[in-house]
Symmetry: C2
Subunit: 470 residues, 2 copies
């Protein structure tokens, strides 16, 4: 161990941190199970060192040294992942990207901005808004996640229905590869120049490289916006107009539909009991946003929707970036998590019914609910939240795993995809073959092995570890 730390220090000096307060803070992300295990006295390992990189060259140096020592390397940005994408094993070096922070360049005419990968999301967005621009990417975690983390996890924002997911927003990446080489992917809005290399790293979750710079394609802040809300006789009744508005080509940035239980929780006054609340944000040039709001309203009302007080939407906007802490819930004996999946339209209600039914059969289940918040021409996501209170603290881990197994199984049984935007991490790793097939796992593993022959980048994450690992 000392060898690798000495070598890192020789090259990177004070950027190599071994103090336990620092290493302990980089052991894991905010995965609910990790929080629970931590509380129960089974924490993730602290890394042997944290490299607080200040430049791409620092990341490359750390990568080369770790490779020479065959030491596992885990990249750490905001640490806000919820799937166990970071859960450090023995003898690991963490590379923090947080020092790669700030705006590197901005071109208001070209609508491009380049950020250090460790720039916090909220800071990046505020810097753009000062210029009348927006990234248009609003994950709930925006204040606790980094721009590089958005890329590594294939994130979605709350405005994705109109503005796309992170893969639709990223123009160019700089990535340090497992061999320490530095890749820049491209410099134009579109290319037919072989496979799109950005896509190797969007969703790679730290297993194929470390993202060091991110260039995004921006938008001007919208001239006008309209917020409106409608409630419907249940989730299925409200999905029909959502499907129809997507079909007709309307693209409100925000289209969020809550099941009746979540509607009660979030919109107590504005949404009557047993009704499903749909909230909408329309943005753009005033004429376009006005026409869209009016046409979508007509479509909702034709489908049985009743207009709700739009102050309910304002309330959601006010709270939309609050991130819950699992710790206090765990301390209260509660097992809690969120699980987002996706499917084409015709399977959505079946998946909703099957997952909530299966979760409700878990002993001690207090609540299993869902909303949908990202819509496409051919389908949408479902975002489940469950809260269970097992009889004993000892059974909390088993109950947690049972809930996930039930949600994954019910989704797969009804032709859904197991992961919409939180990623795979460790919580879904053993279900990935159900999503992309054994052949997909083989392809990803072959690519992993080609770029990272010693399987050093975030081992145990995303993919099962090979049995022949060195």
């Amino acid at each position: 161990m000392q060898d690798i730390v000495s070598d890192l220090q020789a090259e990177l000096g004070a950027r190599v941190m071994c103090e336990s307060a620092v290493t302990h803070a980089h052991a894991r992300d905010t995965w609910s199970l990790a929080e629970l295990l931590d509380y129960q006295g089974q924490p993730a390992c602290s890394p042997i060192a944290v490299v607080e990189a200040g430049s791409t060259a620092d990341v490359a140096a750390a990568m080369r040294i770790c490779r020479a020592h065959k030491t596992p390397v885990v990249a750490y940005g905001g640490g806000s992942g919820v799937c166990g994408g970071i859960f450090v094993g023995e003898g690991t070096v963490v590379v923090s990207t947080r020092g790669l922070s700030g705006l590197i360049s901005l071109d208001n005419g070209d609508l491009t901005a380049t950020f250090g990968a460790g720039t916090m999301g909220g800071d990046a967005e505020r810097m753009m808004q000062e210029h009348g621009l927006t990234i248009g990417h609003w994950p709930q975690s925006i204040e606790v996640s980094t721009v590089g983390g958005w890329v590594a996890t294939r994130a979605s924002g709350q405005y994705s229905t109109g503005y796309g997911n992170i893969e639709d927003i990223v123009l160019d990446l700089e990535v340090v590869l497992p061999d320490g080489e530095i890749l820049r992917t491209r410099r134009t809005p579109r290319a037919a120049a072989g496979p799109d290399l950005r896509q190797l790293f969007l969703g790679s979750e730290g297993t194929l490289g470390i993202v060091t710079e991110v260039t995004v394609s921006l938008r001007p802040l919208a001239e006008h916006h309209v917020r409106q809300a409608f409630h419907f006789d249940g989730l299925a009744a409200a999905l029909a107009p959502v499907q129809q508005l997507m079909r007709e080509g309307w693209r409100p940035p925000v289209v969020r539909l809550y099941d009746p239980r979540e509607s009660r929780r979030h919109f107590d006054e504005a949404c009557p009991k047993e009704r499903a609340m749909l909230i909408l944000l329309h943005e753009g040039p005033k004429t376009a946003a006005t026409v869209e709001a009016s046409e979508v309203a007509a479509l909702c009302e034709k489908a049985g929707g009743v207009r709700a007080d739009s102050s309910a939407v304002d309330e959601w906007f006010g709270k939309r970036n609050e991130v819950p802490s699992f710790r206090s819930l765990v301390e209260g004996g509660l097992v809690v998590d969120t699980i987002e999946v996706a499917s084409t339209w015709k399977h959505l209600v079946n998946i909703y019914d099957a997952v909530t039914k299966s979760l409700s059969e878990v002993p001690g289940m207090l609540s299993a609910t869902a909303h949908t918040s990202h819509a496409y021409r051919s389908g949408a996501n479902l975002y489940f939240t469950f809260v269970a209170k097992p009889d004993t603290p000892e059974s909390m881990v088993d109950v947690y795993r049972d809930c996930w197994a039930r949600a994954m199984r019910a989704t797969l049984d009804h032709h859904g995809g197991i992961a919409h935007h939180h990623g795979i991490g460790r919580v879904r790793r053993d279900y990935l073959a159900s999503e992309i097939g054994d052949t997909g796992i083989a392809v990803l593993s072959q690519i992993k092995r080609a770029l990272d022959p010693d399987w050093l980048l975030n081992p145990g994450n995303l993919l099962p570890e090979p049995t022949d690992r060195n």
Copy 2:
């Protein structure tokens, strides 16, 4: 040679064609240089056999047998590529996908359709239109290209500004890998489940697998459309409102802007001399299309645009899928080709000026012109056409290569990307490192080697061949 053909015949029977009329017809695509070399008596090799696959299993069988014999394999769809993506070398087996034809499934509610990869584009689109639907992908080659070819080459259609390029339209792929295994990529509109495996094959140009089925996300045919045209005082003057309309968030499916020389060629009556013609198609719900057409018209007129007779647009629509034949031009002693590149907004005029100037300095150059036909928030493409008449037939190949070298160099000198939508093939292969760097080439080569260790799929295409090839 006999060995591999016998083994193919033993497994695939009459699907293995060795008649010279068949093999000769599968030697190459419609690359201008290949046409010229053919005419000058240096044709591509005929393959030793053409496997006319009738099923995915046929493709997988052919792939396994070729791998066992270490025989190169080239996939052939419509053969309409223009970059030398197909230019068969010695001892090669061609797998034709044309028998993998037709609609496999259609879901009008989910807006999804699955086609055999060998379905001709025009046929696929007409089948959808019978149901009031559209794929929304209109390459000029739609009547001579296959759906699988669109994927393999990362194609763009004429409606891309509103409806996206092929990567925005494809939902799921079935691909036969170099080892004969069959990959299905996913079944949902969006996933954060590791790197997007579809992207490995979008633009792989036959080097990483053979696409056998393609599922697309459809659109209903638009309720309403508006065609309009404006002419401006030159290309630069007209680019400003195009950039502005993209910036404001308008998304006309068709945004085509011709330089003054092309405007004279295509719109003789409707466009005065020295003016640059912009043609626009707005589509969607009637209210939305009407608002967009009106706002974009105001923006064009404010920027100095003069409304032209919209029958000019109708004329373009009438002729838009006519594909020229290079053969008669070559026979007339002309060297002709098209070269599409891309850049962010601020470099476009510089690239236009530099490429047309450099091409005009080629001895015998008759015409070097351009239009832009695919716009994005952060930039657009440029599509150059050149026609030269060298002094002697012997110099035609050198002139051709000189024209390409000049266009590539001028584009790179001005920060452009070398390939917007025709792909790399053989004509751009030696420039690919300028686009994605030596590191990008290394990454692609490592992936190629991992999936295709003997480098058998379309060797010599897209990537330089490794020097240590078996």
